[in-house]
């Protein structure tokens, strides 16, 4: 696009001036994206002026951007004008009242995963307080958290109740200009979670939210912001599952983490969006921007992700190591079966002195799956004695899948130590035969070998999550044997 910088600036600085009143009345906004839609969205959510301005700046910047093409993934162009950017949540009375009213196919998957009954209700959207469509958040232990001064609420609520905190930190790690999908998200994000842990407070429980895409053709634009003030500690779990779909759905979330001096944030994800069917039809496009900033000395941010779902995953949870002695970690399992594609990895940006980062990536490709690790380790000039260790292993099942590794290393300080190890292996017939000779079924044997391959990552997950993740690997590989 041949737009000069000044034109861009002007475009971004322009005030919103269109009307949208009729749009606010409707339960759902019509498909398409323009300033009216954004105005209506913001008005529906009764947002303060700064929020609308920020959205519009993001939208105007987004108009100047092009979809990135560098990822090792292929998909037909997304029509952003056919997406519905806001749909009202179903009220409690419209939801299934019990699991008896839920799609049996979905329940079968929960059964295989061994998800407890209570959680199945949550996941299946039975009338309990959980993220549903674009609005609302599970806030079960709110009172207990409030006693400690911890804020855990939906993003919309935070915008209303804690506008100063939101304004201070929103976009401070992922600016609205960051990338095509992050800009789009900034313009139209619907809801998400907000967490603030005050100085010296150790959050006594794991905070978790289950997301679920439900309404057809509703693009999901979640926005999550987690701030751990000095010396604070918080662990956040994000888990997703989606019901059967026969059309592509765009999911472009942004997650920002801010860890101040001596603070620690551990963020774990189990991502199991609908991956499409055996022929590669349908499935979610998961284009996510996740980034954390270690703002103070000795801050620590750790990402753990188990990515088994989505037709396409495009995701690089990263850490900016600003404070001296700060630590960034990335542990990942990405599994692609059938026609799934994943291009995922991390960026570790070493700015402070004596900063350390660890990357452990396990990619599994089966069927026609394509699995790419893409990572950047960047050591800036001032980052004396920075250290990175990267281990990147790929496991192939069958001969129609692919594993690719794109490590980028930029070191500008001679005292840095950067290590990179990579392996690619095929699941061996000998291993499977050995396990079957001990009495395990072929599928259990595959599951055992793959889970063993992922062990270093699973041990970073909380116990219950690790158990769920192991089962998920087994279920995701069904049909991959032979």
């Amino acid at each position: 696009m041949a737009t000069s910088n000044r034109e861009v600036e002007e475009l971004i600085g322009r005030q919103y001036r269109h009307g949208f009143t009729t749009l606010v009345e409707a339960d759902s906004l019509p498909p398409g994206l323009n300033e009216d839609i954004i105005g209506a969205l913001s008005a529906k959510k009764q947002e303060p002026a700064f929020m609308l301005e920020w959205r519009l700046k993001a939208y105007r910047h987004w108009l100047t951007m092009k979809e990135p093409k560098w990822a090792h993934v292929h998909y037909p162009p997304v029509d952003f004008q056919s997406i519905i950017y806001y749909s009202a949540p179903k009220s409690q009375k419209d939801r299934p009242k019990s699991l008896d009213e839920v799609d049996p196919k979905l329940l079968e998957t929960y059964e295989k995963l061994g998800i407890p009954l209570k959680e199945r209700e949550l996941l299946a959207g039975v009338a309990v307080d959980a993220v549903f469509d674009s609005v609302s958040v599970a806030t079960t232990f709110k009172d207990k958290l409030a006693e400690l001064g911890i804020i855990f609420c939906s993003f919309s609520e935070a915008v209303q109740k804690y506008p100063d905190l939101v304004q201070k930190y929103l976009g401070s790690v992922v600016p609205y200009t960051d990338n095509f999908y992050a800009s789009l998200n900034s313009a139209v994000f619907s809801d998400g979670s907000f967490v603030y842990v005050p100085k010296g407070v150790r959050c006594p429980m794991e905070l978790s939210t289950y997301f679920r895409i439900n309404a057809s053709k509703t693009g999901q634009f979640e926005r999550t912001l987690i701030v751990a003030d000095e010396g604070a500690y918080v662990r956040y779990l994000e888990g997703c599952t989606a019901p059967m779909r026969d059309e592509n759905q765009l999911h472009a979330a942004v997650v920002e983490l801010v860890a101040m001096k001596d603070a620690q944030i551990k963020y774990s994800t189990v991502q199991n969006w609908y991956p499409g069917d055996e022929q590669g039809r349908g499935g979610i496009y998961n284009f996510v921007t996740k980034r954390g900033a270690c703002r103070g000395d000795s801050a620590r941010i750790s990402w753990t992700q188990i990515e088994t779902g989505s037709a396409i995953t495009w995701k690089y949870p990263s850490v900016i190591l600003e404070g001296d002695n700060s630590v960034g970690e990335f542990y990942s399992v990405a599994l692609t079966n059938n026609y799934q594609q994943a291009d995922t990895g991390t960026k570790m940006i070493h700015i402070g002195k004596n900063t350390r980062s660890t990357i452990v990536s396990k990619g599994i490709a089966a069927g026609h799956g394509q699995n790419a690790y893409r990572g950047l380790v960047k050591v800036l000039k001032g980052a004396r004695d920075a250290r990175n260790y990267t281990q990147c292993d790929s496991l192939l099942m069958g001969d129609k899948c692919g594993a690719h590794t794109f490590p980028y290393i930029e070191v500008k300080n001679p005292t840095a130590k950067v290590e990179h190890e990579a392996t690619t292996s095929k699941i061996s017939e000998d291993q499977l035969y050995y396990l079957r000779q001990r009495g395990l079924s072929a599928e259990d044997a595959v599951s055992m070998v793959v889970n063993g391959f992922c062990k270093e990552v699973f041990k970073e997950l909380p116990m219950e999550f690790a158990v769920e993740a192991q089962k998920l690997i087994g279920v995701s590989l069904e049909g991959a044997v032979g």
Binding site: S428, E429, D430, Q431, Y433, Y434, L435, R436, Q437, R438, G439, L440, S441, A442, D444, A445, M448, V449, N451, G452, F453, C454, K455, E456
Partner: protein
């Protein structure tokens, strides 16, 4: 227990076994000896259910069932255990995890309840003594970083815990020093009961000093050319395989 009749097996069009006949009764130990490439390993893998072998003729009956119709895991659950010559590494999977999954798969098949953690551990501890291994061994990844001797002892440990009806041991003595050999032999001897049978494949007579077989068979070029008792093994040790091969050709 096991009845092999006129078994012909080929791999990728190449004929390996050319009419094996063998009867194994409960309580018996059979040793199968023979030079390299005679088909000893092929025989045990065909019995254990490895894929990639074409059975071109013959039949195998095990406890009244058509063995060749069963998948590898079904054979294992029916009580066939193969001690591997080269036990494979399975990184990230602990020994104890595999053993528990295996035992429970077999118990489930038999309609028995899964062993709880306490009973299972008690059973494993008892068998660890048999093979003179420490408990921390159980928490290491299957065969990963194990010495040759440790791998073989691990096979015997698994066998001891799983308590098979028919144990097939493929070159279990290879790569073992004399102490390890004795430990392995003790493990196998402990399993000798009137209900069970053992078929062991070996190159050397050495192992048979410790596991005394009821029958010795010599396999040459895909055929059992000579059978006898333990004295045959001694003769082979003394004279090599040349004379049996010559006899077979004559």
């Amino acid at each position: 227990m096991l009845s092999i009749k006129n078994l012909h097996v080929s791999v990728e069009g190449k004929s390996i076994l050319k009419g094996i006949n063998l009867e194994v009764k409960a309580g018996e130990v059979h040793a199968i000896m023979g030079p390299n490439g005679s088909g000893k390993s092929t025989l045990v893998h065909v019995l254990a259910g490895r894929e990639g072998y074409d059975v071109t003729a013959g039949a195998v009956t095990y406890l009244g069932k058509d063995l060749l119709a069963l998948r590898a895991e079904e054979r294992a659950r029916e009580g066939i255990f193969l001690g591997f010559q080269y036990p494979v590494e399975i990184p990230g999977v602990s020994n104890i995890y595999l053993l528990k999954a295996a035992l429970n798969a077999i118990r489930k098949h038999r309609g028995e309840e899964e062993l709880d953690a306490i009973d299972f551990l008690a059973r494993v501890r008892e068998k660890l003594k048999l093979v003179e291994m420490k408990e921390d061994f159980m928490y290491r990844s299957v065969n990963e970083g194990f010495s040759g001797g440790e791998r073989k002892r691990n096979e015997i440990l698994q066998m001891a815990v799983l308590e098979p009806r028919l144990a097939l041991l493929d070159e279990t003595d290879s790569g073992l020093d004399i102490d390890a050999l004795k430990i392995v032999a003790n493990g196998v001897n402990a399993l000798r009961t009137p209900e069970r049978a053992v078929v062991l494949v070996t190159h050397y007579q050495r192992l048979l000093n410790y596991i005394v077989p009821d029958y010795v068979h010599v396999l040459v070029q895909g055929r059992i050319v000579k059978s006898g008792d333990k004295s045959l093994a001694h003769e082979l040790e003394r004279r090599g395989y040349g004379w049996v091969e010559a006899e077979a050709r004559a």
